[in-house]
Symmetry: C2
Subunit: 107 residues, 2 copies
């Protein structure tokens, strides 16, 4: 996937409120749902002081369809109501990609 | 910064080897150096199983200049020699950006 540019990335950065009960379960559910969406290419996620989730998509249309997906809409509303102190969404076109691996077989 | 599209993002994802002594110090040093580069706009970083660092830049030229910066070159070589099990670099054009904040003053 990595090198077949161009494709699209959604960079989602956030911090959580103290009221984050149910967040982890919902995040996992959304990850599993996203994987079933047309145009889904991949997913990476990490959280320290800030959380960063990057999802990769074939087209802008596949991103818009995922944003509008019913269960995902519900999760977004719940996130705004309870979970996120703030979030930022950036929709990007991946123009160039390269990688390194200590063991060639890893990638 | 967030909404002044287009600008550029470098998504750097990685996992570390066991031999990561000196990595944290170097990562901090590189963050401080990057902030002084022309065209630098911002920086976000988190590490769980995978590490994700996203840096934001005004132009592709400012990204190329940072990649070629002498101290950064040294850090990249050290990373390949010792620290990274694998990494992926994606150079992206940020085409759309929006955000949410519980307290309007936070952003």
């Amino acid at each position: 996937m990595s090198k077949d540019v161009p494709y699209y990335a959604v960079i989602f950065t956030s911090t959580l409120t103290e009221n984050d009960s149910g967040y982890t379960e919902m995040a996992e559910r959304m990850e599993n749902l996203a994987k079933k969406q047309p145009g889904f290419l991949g997913f990476e996620s990490a959280r320290s002081e800030v959380g960063i989730t990057v999802s990769y998509w074939k087209t802008l249309k596949s991103i818009a369809d995922w944003k509008a997906q019913t269960d995902h809409q519900f999760a977004q509303e719940k996130g705004i109501q309870d979970w996120y102190k703030w979030y930022k969404v950036r929709i990007c076109k991946v123009e160039r990609a390269y990688d390194f691996s200590r063991e060639a077989s890893l990638l």
